[in-house]
């Protein structure tokens, strides 16, 4: 029995759900673009935690391999995201997303 299995799986599910919900709330509530990116990272890392826990409980390595895919893609996404944010900042001199209101209705 590995160290990860000393805690019941329900607790891992609960913890990842809470982390994921904090991430969702962060994306919906916070107005600063950098914080929104961090909240999205939190959502993805909640998924990583869940995958690793399941992987250990199922004694199956596929879940951990999937985590690497998620990490790589998340890194690519943030790289593009920060580049877009730089582009926005150059044009508007702000990272507050309330400035981005040109498109509505």
């Amino acid at each position: 029995m590995s160290a990860i299995q000393t805690i019941p799986i329900e607790w891992y599910i609960l913890l990842s759900t809470v982390l994921f919900t904090i991430g969702v709330a962060g994306v919906l509530i916070r107005r600063n673009a950098i914080i929104i990116f961090m909240s999205i990272e939190l959502m993805l890392n909640a998924v990583n935690l869940l995958l690793v826990a399941f992987s250990s409980y199922l004694s199956d390595s596929k879940g951990q391999v999937f985590v690497f895919f998620i990490m790589a893609v998340a890194a690519a996404e943030v790289a593009v995201g920060l580049a877009i944010l730089m582009m926005v900042y150059r044009n508007t001199k702000s990272s507050d997303i309330n400035i981005l209101n040109k498109l509505k209705w």
Binding site: L44, F54, K62, G63, E77, I84, L85, V88, L100
Partner: protein, 456 residues
């Protein structure tokens, strides 16, 4: 399979063009490459080629790959101007080609990992392309919103995948289906996972109530990129959606059928009604693209033998019509510096050819015979009717009547309203050829729908 490899290598070749300076040759190379990819794809028909259980090239995948490559070819002809700007030329080519690779992966995956990678390979280039008009704040905003909403949706999708993995112990679609039907899967966790994946996919296909990002993104992005997003991205996302829910998750259809029912009804009504009040044609077409997602949800919900062919035909008919309308909006907004509905005033006098093609494309989008769109809607309604969703078919018919109203607003503007200028707008000859070809294709698909519908 071979098509996927070829498209990936075309993307790499596009990047190499910058180093070995054969930028001028790139456009013909890519067009030739797409034709070759189409031919290679045809040879995959009936082979049911699998790649280490990760990808499966069944006829479903080959048919959708074919549609995607054809639309991509038409799109490249429409978007030639996008590939003229010297400084970012090779980047544009490479990003579009890699997005196509993602699209092909999304229609042929047989494993959740490939679905996830396909979606991301398609999405990340699209975020960049949406913001490719770097100095325009609207384009920046569009890219930013697309990125945030796309990553947000991916989060839901991944959480769903993780829960499904926990419940079944596998990422493989057939193994998941086996675990569910043999009863070894933890049912409650699995159901939550399916619903979370449903939310993620609904974001990607812009189905209400997860559609709110689409109009903003479509309006702000450069028009050629909007055309790409509302045709190829939409087709690929729907093919992925259908592939997952019509096979693997069919066993648990009780958990998601009602949700999709409500989603389809909402999407149809919200998309069509909001489109009526738009003044910008680009935004109107964006809402109409939301509405078209609603029609395709009808066939997804039906989940019978007709669904696959109905969605294939609908996606093809809708995408071809959209390429034509966006091409004309592109020409007009370039010439008049405005994409309002009133910029179409008097187009029939100044450019009768554009007006005729636009009318055919709009009639097809509205679903009026003898165009492709009529049969597309006909097959969708048949599949929903056979499955017994009569209420939803009624809502869809009312929604398409509303749709006719806003499509005809443009036709009336072109034919019955006077314009201040009487000068003909300049139209490049390749655009003329493309529009002529599309108009003929729309009519042909309307007269002989069997060609496409018999494929699946």
């Amino acid at each position: 399979m071979k098509a996927l490899v070829l498209l990936s290598s075309l993307g790499v070749i596009a990047l190499l063009a910058e180093i070995f300076s054969f930028k001028k040759l790139l456009y013909p190379i890519v067009l030739l490459g797409l034709v070759t990819a189409f031919v290679l794809n045809v040879f995959d028909w009936d082979t049911n080629h699998t790649f280490y259980k990760m990808m499966q090239y069944d006829n479903y995948a080959v048919a959708f790959t074919g549609v995607i490559i054809v639309i991509a070819f038409l799109w490249f002809i429409m978007a030639e101007g996008f590939f003229k700007e010297e400084s970012n030329l090779t980047d544009h080519f490479a990003l579009v080609l890699f997005a196509l690779v993602g699209a092909v992966m999304m229609v042929s995956y047989n494993n959740m990992a490939m679905l996830f990678l396909g979606i991301e390979i398609l999405s990340i280039p699209m975020y960049i392309l949406a913001g490719s008009n770097k100095t325009d704040v609207a384009s920046n905003e569009s890219a930013f919103k697309y990125l945030i909403m796309g990553a947000f949706a991916t989060g839901f999708l991944l959480f769903g995948i993780a829960l499904i993995y926990g419940a079944t112990g596998s990422f493989d679609l057939s193994e998941i289906a086996n675990a569910v039907s043999s009863g070894t899967a933890a049912r409650s966790i699995f159901s939550v996972g399916v619903l979370l994946m449903l939310i993620g996919m609904a974001f990607k296909v812009s189905a209400a109530p997860f559609h709110f990002w689409a109009p903003d993104v479509y309006q702000g992005a450069p028009t050629v990129i909007t055309a790409f997003m509302s045709t190829i991205v939409k087709t690929a996302a729907f093919a992925a959606f259908l592939r997952l829910f019509s096979t693997t998750f069919m066993e648990v259809h009780g958990t998601w059928m009602n949700v999709v029912w409500v989603m389809a009804a909402l999407t149809l009504l919200v998309g069509n009604i909001t489109a009526v009040v738009q003044t910008s044609t680009k935004r109107m077409l964006a809402y109409s693209s939301v509405a078209h997602a609603g029609y395709m949800l009808l066939a997804l919900l039906a989940g019978n033998d007709y669904s696959n062919s109905a969605i294939l035909f609908y996606a093809a008919a809708y995408s071809i019509g959209s390429i034509a309308t966006f091409c004309i909006v592109h020409i007009i907004s370039n010439a008049k510096k405005s994409d309002g509905v009133d910029s179409f005033n008097g187009l029939a006098k100044t450019n009768p050819f554009l007006a005729v093609v636009m009318t055919i494309a709009l009639l097809s989008l509205a679903g009026i015979p003898p165009t492709a769109g009529f049969f597309a809607k006909y097959y969708i309604f048949t599949s929903a009717f056979v499955a017994g969703n009569v209420g939803l078919v009624l809502i869809a018919i009312i929604a398409s009547l509303i749709g006719v109203y806003y499509y005809f607003r443009l036709i009336i503007a072109m034919y019955f309203k006077e314009s201040s200028s009487t000068e003909a707008l300049p139209v490049e000859s390749n655009h003329k050829l493309l529009l002529l070809f599309i108009a003929v294709l729309i009519i042909l698909m309307g007269l002989f729908p069997d060609w496409v519908i018999k494929l699946l």
